[in-house]
Amino acid sequence: MALKHATPMLDELEKGPWPSFVSDVKRLAAKGNLMCEDWLGLMELSFKEKEGHWKHGGIVGVFGYGGGVIGRYCDRPDLFPNVAHFHTMRVNQPASKYYNSDVLRKICDLWDAKGSGLTNMHGSTGDIVLLGTTTDQLEPIFYELTHDLKMDLGGSGSNLRSPEGCLGMSRCEWACINTQDIIYDLTQEFQDALHRPMFPYKFKFKSSGCPMDCVAAIARADCSIIGTWRDDIRIDQEAVKGYVGGEIVPHGGAGGPRKDFDIKAEVIDLCPTKCMAFDGKTLKIENSDCVRCMHCIRVMPRALRPGVDTGATILLGAKAPILEGAQLSSVVIPFIKMESPYTEFKEFVEKLWDYWMENGKNRERLGELIQRQGLRELLKAVELEPDPRMVNTPRYNPYIFYDPEKVPGGWEHDATEYRKRHQA
């Protein structure tokens, strides 16, 4: 069946070995999906003109929620009436995205009936993104989502955004914390912040189970929760010999089925703190010098494992560049035990949000507020003591804002006494 709009440019993207979104959307359009037909036509126009054709429309949503729906209108409804309204719904994903076919088919049924049939699995933050529906369908979709699928919308706008974690203990031997439970617990605890905006801008939690940080928490989350340990790396000396003897494939096979493993060149010499030694028989680690970078562990996963006194490092303030430039998160809590129900952590979060809400300007991310007011103000607000682990180096400018409370007599001078000592 010929589609409504010719798409010679898009058709070029049906070639090549990588899965083609064009072929995919075309097969849905060929089944009589009018939204997909017009969406293809609109994309072809964008490809031809090298300009997008969507307008923003910010009033749409489901009643009582301030997030989860992004309003979108096409600027050529004359040509593509079936995508004149094409709103996005964000559906909060189960942490780390395990599904069964039953629930996904239900989502498909819902979206075929009430939306365009186009999705993103998943959006950058983690949500299931349902692309393209009309305003009148929002409430029916929300009803079905909550009643039949037992799912809820995700965050958008000045909300807590849908938190996400790595797959953690579900399938990884390196997870130092239960990332999935932490994410699920925080998502449930802070539902109101997720659906009803109150912050100066967006706020993201992300949790990775170890310093390899597979969900990019340190680069993308206002509050990064990264698993770590503070005791010794566990060593299986027999397995070390297995690697050295070429019996076990190094790096878990990530570099292919190699037999030429060189423990000195590949592990000992690459340790960033040079805290390891191997005498041909025994591997020794000076754990007090270890910075837990995970390199040796990932290269010899059957010989080395993280310690057992595990917890998390909490870092704050990561964000993309707008406005003050990109930031990575900075350490504020070097180590915290993260055990359900995470009471100590939640108390920290409440203090953090109070500080940000009271002091943040509109559209100022937490990281920018900290940059503007200084880490000291943040630490005071959340009642944390300074620690050398919070900095790469102490300051090298002399402009110290001394605290008058720590100076005898504060900032007051005795002018009379001064002039007794010094003539004017």
């Binding site: 009582g64 729906v69 004359d78 706008g157 009803r196 109150m198 912050f199 967006k202 943040g360």
Partner: protein, 78 residues
């Protein structure tokens, strides 16, 4: 006390020249209460239909239900 705060916020919104306000603009109407408390008051105003949300996708603002919206006006023009 919530009822009084609600009235103050609605009055404040009506007095503004712009139709959409940020959350901390709304808080200026009730400086005597904490922001977390103000949040609860604003939630009630939303659920009573006395305020509504407007979202740019990345940030959210509040407006009176009677106010129009750019997108709606544009739709009318098409």
């Amino acid at each position: 006390m919530n009822e009084e705060a609600k009235d103050k916020i609605i009055e404040y919104v009506k007095q503004q020249k712009k139709s959409k306000l940020y959350f901390n603009d709304l808080c200026k109407a009730v400086p005597e209460i904490k922001m977390m408390q103000a949040k609860k008051v604003v939630n009630e105003l939303i659920s009573e239909g006395k305020l509504k949300y407007w979202s740019s996708g990345s940030t959210t603002m509040y407006m009176l239900p009677s106010e129009g919206d750019v997108a709606k006006e544009e739709e009318g023009m098409n």
